[in-house]
């Protein structure tokens, strides 16, 4: 870290005591000092510094006890909306949205998936039609699997603006006001019994043209920025040894000798080895990412962690035996902080099933690795040159 950065951090910490300054004020000051995302431009929370510096800056603030936002509540904003807004937003859009996103005053959600467009996201059918005269966009359709939709002020939205061209070409990317008339949010309950996600119904929702990110018809390209960052956000964080689910099961093993059997012992050790290998792989990826841009390698980490979480949480129920027959609570709940580590064994087992589906199914991720990393030939595609409106559905 250079002296300029170090000096800026000390000056900020001197002026705003992390212990007494309200969180939003502290984060606002950090944004204004260009110490939010150091690789962002000046005036937008950054100082055009190398991206590699970010980690050291974060560590310096963490060492001083500075506040950070809850990753569960603000992950979509920080990890997906912010890089997309920076890369594709107009100057006015960047200035309007980045600061309150960084300070946590505005929560974001993601309106991408639809009931008929899951893995095949580019098939989405939520329509956005531009109104003559005002230039506003009128949006109608249904989105699904939306975390935080019931708390979010803003959403990143991809909608179909031209049904007469092949599906990848006819989409446009918007920022959508979740409090606007015509936005209806309904809880979507999962196999765990709780509603972590939502369905979002959009009926005649009005979006000003100024809230478009990227050109009309460029929505797919803009969405790639979001999705690449999502995969890094899910799989690319640093973890200590036994920091994941394996640590939970390992501690149960240590504390409950009466549960041990030779076969479970070997199964546990195999998983411990695989979990440690995956952790080291994540750490190696993190060391490389510290210097560069997120790439498709993030897909590998996500794929590995999904498999591991499912195997580990399955083993945990077997280890617990009779206790594994129980479930804590089937009543409808809206979890504030869905966490596998803090949950119960039954919850972990069920929730882990989502890990290989959310953020790109494991099958889609294997396709991405095969085509983008290994350079294998693409699948034979029957939908590439067909207008979206003529696709069978």
């Amino acid at each position: 870290m250079d002296d300029g950065l170090r000096g800026a951090i000390s000056a900020l910490l001197e002026k705003y005591d992390p212990a007494t300054t309200p969180v939003a004020d502290f984060l606002g000051a950090r944004y204004d000092a260009g110490l939010a995302w150091v690789h962002f431009p000046e005036g937008l929370g950054g100082r055009s510094a190398p991206r590699a510096m970010q980690q050291e800056v974060n560590e310096a603030f963490a060492a001083a006890g500075a506040p950070t936002l809850d990753a569960g509540r603000h992950g979509i904003g920080l990890g997906m909306a912010a890089p997309t807004i920076l890369a594709h937003g107009s100057d006015a859009v960047r200035r309007r949205f980045l600061r309150p996103l960084w300070t946590g005053e505005e929560v974001w959600c993601q309106l991408f998936s639809e009931p008929g467009a899951g893995s095949d996201l580019a098939a989405l059918g939520t329509r956005a039609v531009q109104e003559e005269g005002t230039g506003d966009w009128i949006v109608d359709g249904q989105k699904v699997w939306t975390s935080l939709a019931h708390e979010a002020q803003w959403a990143i939205l991809v909608a179909r603006t031209d049904p007469d061209v092949p599906k990848h070409q006819g989409m446009t990317y918007f920022v959508c006001d979740m409090t606007a008339p015509g936005v209806e949010v309904r809880p979507l309950r999962q196999a765990t019994g709780e509603a972590e996600f939502n369905e979002v119904f959009l009926t005649g929702v009005r979006i000003p043209d100024a809230h478009r990110l990227g050109a009309v018809g460029e929505g797919w390209r803009v969405a790639q920025t979001t999705l690449m960052n999502e995969r890094v956000a899910i799989g690319g964080h640093a973890e200590p040894r036994e920091g994941g689910l394996i640590g939970v099961v390992a501690n149960t093993w240590r504390e409950r000798p009466e549960l041990r059997t030779p076969a479970l012992h070997d199964a546990l050790l195999r998983l411990w080895v695989d979990a440690e290998a995956a952790r080291l792989t994540g750490e190696r990826l993190r060391q490389q990412l510290a210097a560069g841009q997120p790439g498709p390698e993030g897909s590998a980490a996500k794929l590995a962690f999904a498999q591991l979480n499912q195997r580990i949480s399955g083993l945990e129920l077997e280890l617990l035996g009779a206790e594994g027959l129980e479930y804590e609570d089937w009543s409808f709940r809206r979890p504030a902080h869905p966490s596998m580590i803090d949950g119960t064994p039954g919850y972990r087992y069920l929730r882990a099933k989502g890990n290989s589906i959310e953020g790109g199914t494991s099958e889609i991720l294997r396709g991405i690795i095969a085509e983008r990393v290994l350079g294998l030939p693409q699948e034979i595609r029957v939908d590439k040159d067909v207008a979206w409106k003529d696709l069978p559905r």
Partner: protein, 377 residues
């Protein structure tokens, strides 16, 4: 729980899991040499010769590249680099299944001599003018009981035999663990022994039976020191073998991906079929994990980390299965050609399966991990 504290603090040391520019340069040099002097057809052909060691290649590695003493300090005649650079050479040798006694001499024997601070043989091994071999069964795991098949008289004469010794056929000096008349472990340097080749599953690393019949040995260490030197060699070996296994797995992956792009069936490259693509994607993930594990092992050995026993056990518990899977996938995805004598896939399969048994099978390393990370049976 003290054990838990110990292994968590071990993890806190920051391991560098990447490659430095110097390491990448070293890799390029070794790769270029191997491409020129040990093309795969030559390696295949050598498996049918009486002389299974490529001594010319060994000379080139020693004299032209100077990579035989990377882990040895300069004052002992080495290059003063570390096990990290040695591991990079091993990756390339694995990738070429090159028939040279590098692992036996520059890793196992060198690690034993380094642990003893030995000054006579070590400079010769470091310069590559002599080849060393640790005369234990290649299947011996770190932490195994001290071998008892060779006995030493009080005047240093050794009698007994050791089977499955790696890189002994080309060796000038054997490091022989033996039991003294007092029943204490000893380690000897032996230059005259009967070394007979064994028909070995790994055709590029032919094992041997070492027989000693009242053979004179020079005492290197006895008691706890001998035990420690042997364990240091086996532990370092286990950590470093993962890098050779990585090279083997990397060959399997890249060769199979290339083949899947060019081989056509049903009017399209077989690599466009999802059944093939997804297997290769999984294999890529596995090799990426193997790389992280192998670098972790090499880095821990280079730093002499307290975490080394754990990292070495992890390396073998993971790398063995990963390299076997990679080569098995290579055979299957090549179809008929991959099962032939003329195609090199079988050499890599044999290397991977043999290496998975070498220095302890994965289950032994899992058992060792169980102790090290406090997960008792």
């Amino acid at each position: 729980m003290t054990t838990t504290t110990a292994f968590h603090s071990g993890a806190a040391e920051s391991a560098d899991l990447g490659y430095t520019e110097v390491e990448e340069e070293l890799r390029a040099n070794v790769r270029a040499l191997l491409a020129a002097r040990a093309p795969i057809n030559a390696v295949l052909a050598r498996t049918e010769l009486a002389q299974t060691t490529d001594t010319e290649l060994w000379r080139a590695l020693a004299d032209e590249l100077g990579v035989t003493g990377l882990a040895v300090p300069e004052e002992l005649g080495g290059a003063g680099a570390s096990w990290r650079e040695t591991a990079v050479v091993l990756e390339e040798l694995g990738r070429a299944v090159a028939p040279v006694p590098y692992f036996g001499s520059c890793v196992l024997a060198t690690a034993a001599l380094l642990a003893l601070g030995e000054r006579e043989q070590l400079p010769r091994l470091a310069s590559g003018t002599a080849i060393g071999s640790l005369a234990v069964s290649f299947a011996t795991a770190p932490g195994a009981p001290f071998p008892g098949t060779v006995h030493a008289s009080d005047d240093g004469l050794l009698t007994g035999s050791v089977r499955h010794v790696a890189d002994a056929l080309a060796a000038d000096v054997l490091l022989v663990p033996a039991v003294g008349e007092d029943g204490e472990p000893r380690l000897y340097a032996v230059q005259q022994a009967d070394v007979e080749p064994m028909v070995s599953l790994d055709m590029a690393r032919q094992l041997a039976v070492v027989t000693l019949d009242v053979a004179p040995g020079r005492l290197l260490a006895s008691g706890e020191e001998a035990r420690h030197a042997l364990d240091a060699a086996l532990t370092t070996g286990a950590a470093l073998l993962a890098s050779e296994q990585l090279g083997v797995a990397e060959w399997a992956l890249t060769t199979t991906v290339a083949y899947a792009k060019e081989r056509h069936q049903f009017g399209r490259p077989i690599g466009s079929f999802q059944a093939v693509k997804h297997r290769l994607a999984d294999l890529w993930v596995l090799v990426a994990q193997l790389r992280a594990v192998a670098r972790s092992g090499a880095d821990a050995a280079a730093r002499g980390s307290a975490d080394l026993p754990l990292t070495a056990a992890l390396a073998q518990a993971f790398a063995s299965g990963a390299a076997v899977t990679a080569t098995e996938e290579a055979v299957q995805l090549h179809g008929g050609i991959g099962f032939t004598w003329e195609h090199p896939a079988h050499l890599y399969l044999k290397r991977a399966k043999s290496a998975s048994l070498a220095l302890g099978t994965p289950d032994r390393h899992r058992a060792r991990l169980a102790t090290l990370v406090d997960l008792p049976a």
